[in-house]
């Protein structure tokens, strides 16, 4: 066992003890108030990790949901005399409903467009809060928000309120833990790192982003309501962009994906300015300097720094976890290629502006066959794969899988129906183990959902089964020994194999491989060829895009050649190699004439 394996649990225990003893040691009413507020902001930051950490979207509306919730709770309590449970529940519901409304247009966007759109939510709410004076009290806000009252008992300021708020912190941390630790959490991680890869594994990033956005909003709702009942006033300052900046700072300083990072970030961001207030006008500069210094030392946040210094134990492969890989139920017999097309492409056309990337391309693949798509650079090979897998929508034509049209489906749905793929430029998740990179392909098969992740007990059975399945696939491709290794540390050739294993783990009917031999030496190419032949022998249909003719020569049973988006030849490899148009496409008209002469 490594040193970190001993130190990390110890460090965790020390951290928990420090957290518990903090308010015991610093127990003045002022300290208790700050600790209570830190708890409120910890919930906000934990919630923000769902959208910002889990799926990597820079949402700038978390502060707006926080402020909205405070207003809903405050208005219901002050103006309608609602009890705390009522106002609390209502504020969460309103936040989630607004998140649903906002997500319809906003979740279609990504990167900075998504950030700007979510920023707009806060600005609109701020204007409403200021202008709707009869309801919100205008710019000065509404005072007189009561302390929380449960079952007729008022939660007093000081220790009772602190414990009350921190119970919610514990609850929020538990929810976050449940979401992150199972197969659903792995899928979130893949969505954050590479949404295109996620879609190729039948994971719908949109639905995961939607769920995380709603969960973030709900957590902001919890935090906002608690904030209103803690500071006992609601005002536009709660909707100010500064709240969002504070939330972002907590997540970044603490670590965007670690629950304890969010709590540490909140404690630090709430307490640091208070500790430094003695410096009067200079305290903001000093606070900022300290935070910048932390980011320089730990750009990945405090939690990331701990991970760097004391790397966490790799997730164990099922064998070492007491589980065996799922036994292969199929025999090792050979299935002969069928005469029934499993995949048929009919008059497929795709244009980019005036460029015909694909022009009336038609061909069919028989089950268990190994077909190759060849053609010079820019001939449309990768566009063809992207159209078949749904990454691009074809302008016209049809794509049939097992006789059913799939051209109008999204790429995750096409993957779910049995079309796996690998990428010309590898799309693995470097900070995940080989095993988990492969296991996550079982997401759809295991029917992992957010709701089910809340019900995970001691161990996520879905994840265990997915890992068992993945281990079996890794054995088949000869990578079992690397199961617990992070993908970042693998050689290029091994990564190619992992990507193939991941695609196989999806249990596809058709597997599209985009330049699988690129970067492999001859021995590796030979091993890969044997593997692909074995897969085809089990009934898997393979479509390989490749420039390496030597690799394809003895592997492919059928070939199609594209040039300038048009299918110029189709047939057995021996015939294709002699085809004048193919030679011309590759070497030019004059050289082709000389070659045939």
């Amino acid at each position: 066992m490594s040193r970190s394996a001993h130190v990390r649990p110890l460090l965790g225990a020390v951290g928990l003890c420090l957290l518990a003893s903090w308010p015991l040691i610093m127990s003045s009413p002022y300290d208790l108030r700050l600790f209570t507020l830190a708890g409120v902001f910890a919930i906000l930051a934990i919630g923000y990790q769902f959208i910002f950490g889990n799926v990597g979207e820079l949402s700038l509306s978390q502060g707006a949901f926080f402020g909205l919730s405070a207003y809903v709770s405050g208005i219901l309590a002050v103006k309608a005399g609602a009890d705390f449970p009522q106002s609390f529940a209502a504020s969460i519901i309103v936040c989630v409903l607004l998140a649903v409304l906002v997500s319809i247009p906003v979740l279609r966007l990504s990167t900075h467009y998504f950030a700007l759109a979510t920023l707009g939510v806060g600005q609109v709410l701020l204007l409403v809060a200021i202008e709707w004076q009869s309801l919100t009290g205008g710019a000065i806000g509404l005072s007189g928000v009561p302390l929380p009252k449960l079952f007729g008992v008022q939660v007093a300021r000081g220790w009772p309120l602190l414990l009350f708020v921190w119970c919610f912190v514990a609850l929020a941390a538990m929810v976050a833990f449940q979401v992150k630790r199972g197969l659903y959490g792995l899928a979130c991680h893949v969505v954050r790192q590479n949404a295109v890869a996620a879609r190729s594994l039948a994971i719908d990033p949109d639905s995961i982003r939607f769920a995380m956005f709603l969960l973030s909003a709900a957590m902001a709702g919890v935090a906002g309501a608690l904030h209103a009942h803690t500071i006992r006033i609601v005002s536009p300052e709660g909707l100010d962009f500064k709240v969002m900046i504070a939330c972002l700072t907590m997540a970044v300083i603490g670590g965007r994906t670690h629950i304890w990072g969010a709590i540490a970030g909140a404690l630090l961001v709430v307490h640091l300015p208070e500790w430094l207030r003695g410096f009067q006008q200079s305290y903001l500069i000093i606070t900022s300097s300290v935070l910048i210094a932390i980011l320089i030392v730990a750009p990945e946040g405090l939690a990331g720094l701990v991970d760097r210094l004391l790397p966490p134990q790799r997730s164990k492969s099922p064998d070492s976890d007491g589980l065996s890989p799922i036994q292969d139920r199929t025999s090792d017999g050979v299935l002969m290629p069928s005469e029934t097309p499993i995949l048929a492409v009919r008059e497929l056309t795709k244009t980019f502006g005036g460029v015909h990337a694909l022009n009336n391309v038609s061909f069919s693949l028989m089950r268990g066959s190994i077909a190759a798509v060849i053609g010079p650079n820019g001939s449309g090979k990768t566009t063809l794969v992207n159209c078949i897998t749904g990454n691009y929508r074809a302008d016209s034509g049809a794509i049939l899988l097992g006789g059913g049209e799939i051209g109008a489906l999204g790429s995750d749905e096409i993957a779910a129906r049995g079309v796996g793929r690998t990428f010309q430029n590898l799309r693995l998740v470097d900070d995940m183990t080989v095993l988990d990179n492969v296991a996550v392909a079982r997401f759809r098969a295991e029917a992992a959902t957010l709701g089910k992740s809340f019900l995970i007990g001691r161990r996520d059975e879905k994840l265990s089964r997915a890992r068992s399945h993945a281990l079996r696939v890794l054995r088949r491709v000869g990578l079992e020994h690397a199961a617990d290794v992070n993908c970042a540390s693998l050689a290029h050739g091994t990564k190619r194999l992992v990507e193939i294993a991941r695609a196989i783990c999806l249990d596809p009917a058709v597997l599209l491989l985009d330049e699988p031999a690129a970067g492999l030496n001859e021995t590796e190419q030979a091993e890969l060829a044997r593997l692909l032949e074995a897969l085809a022998a089990r009934g898997l249909t393979l479509l390989i895009i490749e420039h390496n003719m030597e690799f394809l020569k003895n592997l492919a049973t059928h070939m199609v050649c594209l040039d300038y988006g048009e299918l110029i030849a189709s047939g057995r490899p021996s015939a294709i190699y002699q085809d004048e148009r193919v030679i011309e496409a590759y070497v030019g008209r004059r050289q082709a004439a000389e070659a045939t002469a």
Partner: protein, 374 residues
């Protein structure tokens, strides 16, 4: 000789210890927004408080504790919680930011500690909290004088109102609109301007098209300076009567005298040398230390804090004693006489000052004492 020296030393020590025994020690928390968008006004407040401590009655040993409340709603309440438990704290200076004061009220009530805030924002003295003392005239008072001057002295009734979309701006706008309507006037144009706005030419074009005969303003320092500058740049020749922030030296210094020509403002207080020794001392020391005349926030904070210090000097030995003194005693400050009404409003005088276009120092044109709301 040596014996005589010993006698002298012993006598000196005795006298010193006796003097120390008579000294009353107290901590004065000064909670003010000295960073953020209200830093200009908050710094004036802090300067006034510091000057009051420097001029405190003899026999008080004061330890001041400056705490920045920033602009977060809970900033003032956090700070009050920090200082309220201290037994040597009999009262606290509170921020001029009304929202923060509202959040401080439950804490003040729980600790039974008087808070002194130079804020005009209406609701802070409407919560029935006996520990709240407002040093600045209630908006209901200052805006009554503001409108009376416009209607009675300038004879103008068709007003355009520009205000900040803050508690301060909205509170002033509300009272000005109501009062103007009550005296037969009319608000023919109004617009809220965000505190961070830097350019309002579109707003001014609409204002001009509405053809008001007076422009009334209720804004914070930076905003009102921006508006006055752009009114002058757009050559909009309509009389301007603003709120107190345009009468602040720090605000006027952002403008040229010509840009301020004809601009008038209501203000809580107006000081001129020669009124009395205390006023001269305050002005001289303030100008010498800060290089500018004190503005209304500095003056009101100086007077209010001095009133509380006089209470302690006069025998107040607890927060309750200070509260009783503040709520029952009439105090003559450098700016006016202060007397708490049933809600804790101490200031009831307002002045109107105007710029002549030749200097950055406005002149007193009208004084309203014991002003009542409409």
């Amino acid at each position: 000789m040596r014996f005589a020296r010993r006698i002298m030393l012993a006598a000196t020590a005795l006298l010193s210890s006796s003097a120390l025994a008579q000294e009353t020690s107290l901590t004065v928390p000064i909670i003010a927004p000295i960073t953020g968008l209200l830093a200009l006004e908050g710094t004036s407040q802090l300067n006034g408080a510091n000057m009051a401590i420097a001029h405190a009655p003899a026999g008080l040993k004061i330890k001041s504790q400056v705490i920045d409340s920033g602009t977060a709603a809970e900033g003032g309440a956090n700070a009050l919680e920090r200082v309220a438990g201290d037994k040597s704290t009999y009262f606290s200076v509170a921020p001029l930011f009304g929202t923060q004061v509202l959040a401080m009220l439950p804490v003040a009530l729980e600790y039974k500690i008087p808070i002194l805030a130079p804020t005009g924002t209406g609701p802070v003295t409407e919560q029935g909290n006996p520990y709240m003392f407002r040093l600045y005239p209630h908006d209901a008072v200052s805006k009554a004088a503001h409108i009376r001057y416009v209607v009675e002295e300038l004879k103008l009734k068709k007003a355009a109102i520009l205000y900040n979309t803050t508690g301060y701006g909205q509170s002033g706008f509300k009272y000005m609109s109501e009062y103007l309507t009550k005296v037969g006037g009319e608000v023919i144009f109004s617009e809220g301007v965000d505190l961070s706005a830097k350019e309002i030419s579109a707003t001014l074009a609409k204002l001009k098209a509405a053809k008001p005969d007076v422009v009334l303003i209720q804004m914070h320092s930076a905003s009102i300076a921006m508006v006055v500058k752009q009114l002058a740049a757009a050559n909009i020749q309509i009389p301007v009567v603003g709120n107190t922030t345009i009468a602040m030296p720090a605000t006027a210094s952002l403008l040229q005298p010509s840009e301020l020509k004809g601009v008038c403002a209501e203000s809580a207080s107006w000081l001129e040398k020669g009124a009395d020794a205390a006023t001269d001392r305050f002005i001289n020391d303030y100008v010498s230390k800060h290089g500018a005349m004190p503005d209304a926030y500095a003056i009101q904070q100086y007077d209010g804090l001095m009133m509380a210090l006089v209470a302690v000097k006069g025998g107040a030995k607890s927060t309750e004693d200070v509260r009783k003194y503040m709520s029952t005693t009439e105090y003559k400050g450098v700016a006016m006489r202060y007397k708490a009404d049933a809600k804790g409003n101490l200031a009831h005088s307002v002045v109107i000052v105007c710029y002549d276009g030749a200097s950055l120092n406005p002149k007193l044109v009208k004084r309203y004492d014991n002003v009542a709301g409409f």
